[in-house]
């Protein structure tokens, strides 16, 4: 009864989503307040229904109800509880349901948190959100119904893909979806602004928290996914320029650009049309990502099932929403009131440069991802666009961007003074150069790593220079307290970027060994020695594993023991490696097992990765900065200052 109630609730949610799409929209056109206000309770009710459905599916997974096809195909009664719960979204149908759950929760959030919003804007926004919900609910019910039943249930399921049986599955998809789908709100706001033909600083103010929240979740989701891939795939890599990874990077780049230009719009009422465009772009790229992952166009760990019918359906949704929004944009953008002008050397100007670079980076990723697909579709040739392409194009974009980030922070709104800004950054420049020399002396080549590491240190110091100099003006404590949280947010997020960059730079100094190891014989990995002490087998709940006990020594002293393993999952007849990782400071030593040979040797990949944790810690710090900015409920005030006073501390943020 619980299962069918969930199924019924899902169908009912589709009907309500249609009501949410139609009634408020008609109300907005008729200027009828009661009709417009239908949006709020309906959005909340739709969310509750989808949540009921999701809860019912989770229940079915938890109690191993094998009368559901979805449970048969993706669960196993012996699977640990956490994977029974996270396995709900570890498959196509369940993950689409999670997608819709997040979508409807976004709608409910707008409904509940929009007291101060004009009725018209709210009605149109929720109508667009409802239309999206309806499209995806129809997709789920008609092509990927997680509630499909069998009359004669089997006694055991086929288990979840072993690669997904990992705590990472519990965290990565929900975070990523919150980010992806979070941009749907921004998209809906943009569409509503275009429909209603009104856009101003108040609009930017309503959109800001949603953009920030989506960006935070997306940042964390990507970082989590990257770390998961790093420790679970056994290659020691953390980013493969896999199209599916790119699918999350594209909206992130667009979202980051949006975050910055929305600040311009809120303060100065400029860049309105561009902000709208980026809002549409960010979510369009999220949809594109969903299409790539869910349609079966790509084969990857993320593609649970390839079914052409689903692909066509998602493509139709994609075309309808992106095409519809862009058409709306083309027709209405010229009708929007344009904003103020500003000087090129100013905070606004710097943010425009930021936007240009980020958009170019985003376009690069889009091209690098779609070109091979298009080529394969047209000519049948399979090419792979990988790290060499992206490195060649993105590094020359990213490094100047990093160089400009602290300078932009130093410039005042409306009219800035470049020379003064550069002067104030003297300390940061000096720190960067010292770091460059120090890293060069300590680690040596490659040059790119040294330069990037120097830039990273400059960025971290530069990010806090503004705050430090404001505080140094005397009466430090009062000034610290007076600083708006969003100023802290900016600095911390930029510093996080610097930390990630430092981690990325340090990959150049890592050591990789692919060796046949003999038990008892030490193997050099960077400054450490690794010895296999024992090789043995043991059984887990739904797998059997062979593991090696490895001792990690430095200077004759044992620092740590790791147990890399190879697991074999009976039900799916699949093997996976379980890497042995030990964290030493910010670096890691990483071991993954390969084949075992007759003569007792064991193939192993051994890595020493200095500062590698900074890559992900940096992302966490970025998200923290975003969180501080989000917590700042104050209104942003555009302050125009004269060039002469620009060298003085500004209350700019």
């Amino acid at each position: 009864m619980i299962v069918e109630t969930g199924h019924f609730a899902l169908v009912l949610a589709l009907a309500l989503a249609l009501a949410q799409a139609i009634l408020p929209f008609v109300g907005a056109r008729l200027r009828d307040v009661s009709l417009m206000r239908v949006a709020r309770p309906v959005a909340v009710a739709q969310f509750l229904l989808v949540a009921t459905a999701y809860g019912a599916l989770t229940y079915a997974h938890v109690v191993s109800d094998f009368s559901l096809v979805n449970v048969i195909e993706n669960s196993h009664s012996l699977k640990p509880m956490i994977y029974k719960i996270s396995g709900v979204w570890g498959n196509h149908e369940g993950s689409m349901l999670l997608w819709v759950l997040v979508l409807s929760s976004c709608g409910a959030a707008i409904a509940l948190l929009s007291r101060a919003m004009p009725d018209l804007l709210r009605a149109d926004t929720l109508a667009v959100q409802g239309l999206m919900g309806a499209a995806f609910l129809a997709f789920i019910l008609l092509t990927s119904n997680p509630f499909a039943r069998v009359a004669d249930p089997p006694w055991q399921g086929r288990d979840l893909n072993p690669i997904l049986q990992d705590p990472g599955l519990a965290i990565h998809p929900p975070l990523l979806y919150l980010g992806y789908v979070g941009f749907s709100i921004v998209f809906s706001f943009a569409a509503a602004a275009l429909i209603g033909g009104r856009i101003d600083a108040a609009w930017a103010r309503f959109v800001r928290p949603w953009t920030l929240a989506a960006w935070i979740f997306l940042t964390l989701g990507i970082a989590m996914g990257s770390y998961w891939a790093y420790y679970t795939l056994g290659w020691g890599g953390f980013w493969f320029w896999d199209p599916v990874e790119n699918a999350s990077l594209m909206p992130w780049l667009a979202g980051t650009a949006l975050l910055h230009c929305a600040a311009v719009m809120e303060k100065r009422e400029a860049l309105k049309v561009w902000t709208i465009f980026l809002s549409i772009l960010a979510f369009s790229l999220s949809l594109l990502g969903t299409f790539l992952v869910r349609s079966g166009v790509l084969t990857s760990v993320h593609a649970f099932a390839s079914d052409p019918q689903r692909g066509v359906f998602i493509l139709a949704i994609l075309v309808a929403f992106i095409g519809g929004a862009l058409a709306l944009f083309a027709f209405r953008a010229s009708a929007l009131p344009t904003g103020g002008l500003f000087a090129p050397i100013s905070r606004e100007g710097a943010l425009v440069v930021n936007n240009l670079l980020l958009t170019v980076a985003c376009a690069t990723v889009v091209i690098g991802t779609l070109y091979p697909l298009a080529l394969e579709a047209l000519t049948g040739d399979k090419i792979s666009v990988g790290a060499p392409f992206f490195d060649t194009v993105l590094i020359p974009i990213a490094l100047p961007l990093v160089l400009l980030m602290p300078i932009g922070q130093m410039l005042a709104w409306k009219r800035g003074d470049l020379l003064a800004a550069l002067q104030r950054l003297r300390a940061a420049f000096a720190a960067g150069v010292v770091a460059l020399a120090a890293f060069g002396a300590l680690y040596g080549a490659p040059v790119l790593s040294i330069v990037s590491a120097g830039l990273a240190v400059y960025l971290v110091i530069g990010a806090f220079t503004d705050i430090a100099q404001r505080v140094a003006q005397g009466n430090a404590l009062a000034r610290l307290r007076g600083l708006p949280l969003s100023a802290w947010g900016t600095s911390i997020a930029h510093a996080g970027m610097g930390l990630s960059l430092l981690g990325l730079a340090a990959t150049g100094w890592g050591v990789e060994q692919i060796v046949a190891m003999k038990p008892g014989v030490a193997q050099e990995v960077g400054p450490y020695q690794i010895t296999i002490e024992d090789i043995a087998s043991r059984a887990g709940p739904n797998y059997a594993e062979t593991y090696a006990v490895m001792a990690l020594r430095k200077g004759g002293e044992t620092i740590a023991r790791i147990e890399p393993a190879k697991r074999f999952y009976q039900a799916r007849r699949m093997a996976r490696t379980e890497a042995g990782i030990v964290t030493l400071g910010l670096g890691q030593v990483y071991a993954a097992l390969g084949e075992q040979h007759e003569d007792g040797t064991l193939d192993a990949r051994l890595y020493y990765k200095p500062l590698v944790l900074l890559i992900w810690l940096g992302a966490v710090v970025m998200a923290l900065g975003g969180g501080l900015s989000l917590a700042d409920r104050r209104l942003r005030i555009g302050v125009a200052s004269r060039a002469r006073t620009a060298a003085q501390p500004q209350a700019a943020e």
Binding site: E4, L12, A15, L30, S34, S64, S77, W155, D200, P541
Partner: protein, 368 residues
């Protein structure tokens, strides 16, 4: 009962539409939120400058700008937005009719209100008798999940796996039983046999080590000697195989159930080289040398390729026989059945071919 629940849900959903329609909406000024926003912004400027975070000159510029926008917002103010009784009634009526109608229509097509929940635990409790082997297995599996050190359980469950074409799981269960209950010739043999079946009849080194262990405990063990001979035959050591099997026949009782099989194999060995003993092709040899999981995949790929070929050209009787046998070995009963149907269609003209296919199907128990 379940329909009552559905009715309640539907009612609540429709109410979420009706409620705002029924409420008397105070006609709000459409521009009011904007005006409030800019007023708040001006107030914020005042606060900031009072706290000394904004110089007087900056505050003045900012205030001018915000005031300009405020004026503009007031200018836009288009009077009160109305709400009409008629609109509300039309909307309410369509919600009352369309929401339940659409839901019932779609759920009627997709839903299975007749099927109750079927949690594994409830199903196991509902079947306390041992009428159903599958449920018994599920019960033992659940028991083993809680008591992973119960070797008896593994020993009981392993033969079932074997009979159901899950030899790898059988091998894993026997392995645990052996470890937990201690070695006996029988346990070593059972594990070895499961391993042989898991690798499609090939006596691997892993399997052979079990038979060797059994022979160490009981040099007369018939099963271990049988597989020892098979291993020799498969690796091409014909003389050794002949010797092992001949000794086995000489030692064993006259009515031993394995006697006819050994005799046949021995005859094959002495006559022509047995067809299954060595992989027939280069590709087969390559596959045999692969690690287990990879080999299964490779075999499946080959089988799928064969199926594709037969779909193109269905006149190949040998091909159909191979395909049905392959699916049967892979324990893919459904696919074997489909292949049987396919053969019937493709070979409708070929009476003899059809008869052979049907004979094989009967032998393998496919489609019956």
């Amino acid at each position: 009962m379940i329909w009552l629940l559905f009715a309640l849900l539907t009612g609540a959903a429709v109410m979420s539409v009706l409620w705002p329609l029924a409420r008397k909406s105070d006609a709000a000024d459409a521009a009011a939120p904007d005006i409030a926003f800019f007023e708040e912004q001006i107030a914020e400027i005042g606060r900031e400058s009072a706290e000394g975070r904004l110089s007087a000159a900056d505050a003045e510029t900012a205030r001018t700008e915000a005031a300009r926008r405020l004026l503009r917002a007031r200018g836009v103010s288009s009077g009160a937005a109305a709400s009409s009784r008629r609109n509300a009634i039309v909307a309410a009526a369509s919600a009352i009719i369309l929401i339940p109608a659409l839901t019932l229509l779609l759920y009627g097509k997709l839903g299975r209100p007749d099927l109750p929940d079927a949690s594994l635990e409830a199903r196991l409790e509902a079947k306390p008798g041992h009428t159903d082997i599958a449920s018994a297995v599920a019960r033992i599996e659940a028991h083993l999940a809680e008591h992973p050190e119960d070797g008896r359980g593994y020993e009981v469950i392993a033969p079932f796996y074997l009979r159901n074409g899950r030899p790898a799981e059988a091998a894993a269960a026997y392995e645990k039983a052996l470890r937990l209950l201690g070695p006996t010739p029988h346990r070593h043999n059972a594990l070895g046999e499961a391993r042989v079946l898991a690798s499609e009849g090939r006596v691997t080194a892993e399997a052979m080590s079990e038979f060797d262990a059994a022979l160490a405990l009981d040099p007369k063990s018939a099963m271990a000697r049988f597989y020892k001979g098979l291993e020799a035959a498969q690796t091409g050591a014909r003389e050794k195989a002949e010797q092992v099997w001949s000794e086995l026949l000489a030692d064993g009782p006259a009515d031993a159930p394995w006697r006819p099989r050994v005799e046949t194999l021995l005859a094959q060995l002495r006559g022509a080289p047995a067809p299954e003993s060595a992989p027939a092709s280069e590709e087969g040899a390559k596959i045999a040398a692969m690690p287990e999981a990879q080999r299964t995949d490779a075999i499946r790929t080959m089988v799928e390729r064969l199926r594709g070929k037969l779909e193109q050209d269905g006149a190949d009787v040998e091909g159909w026989l191979r395909l049905i046998r392959a699916y049967s070995v892979l324990a893919e009963t459904e696919k074997a059945k489909t292949a049987l149907d396919g053969a019937h269609k493709a070979l409708a003209q070929d009476k003899d071919g059809l008869a052979r296919v049907d004979a094989l199907a009967r032998e393998l128990g496919v489609g019956g």
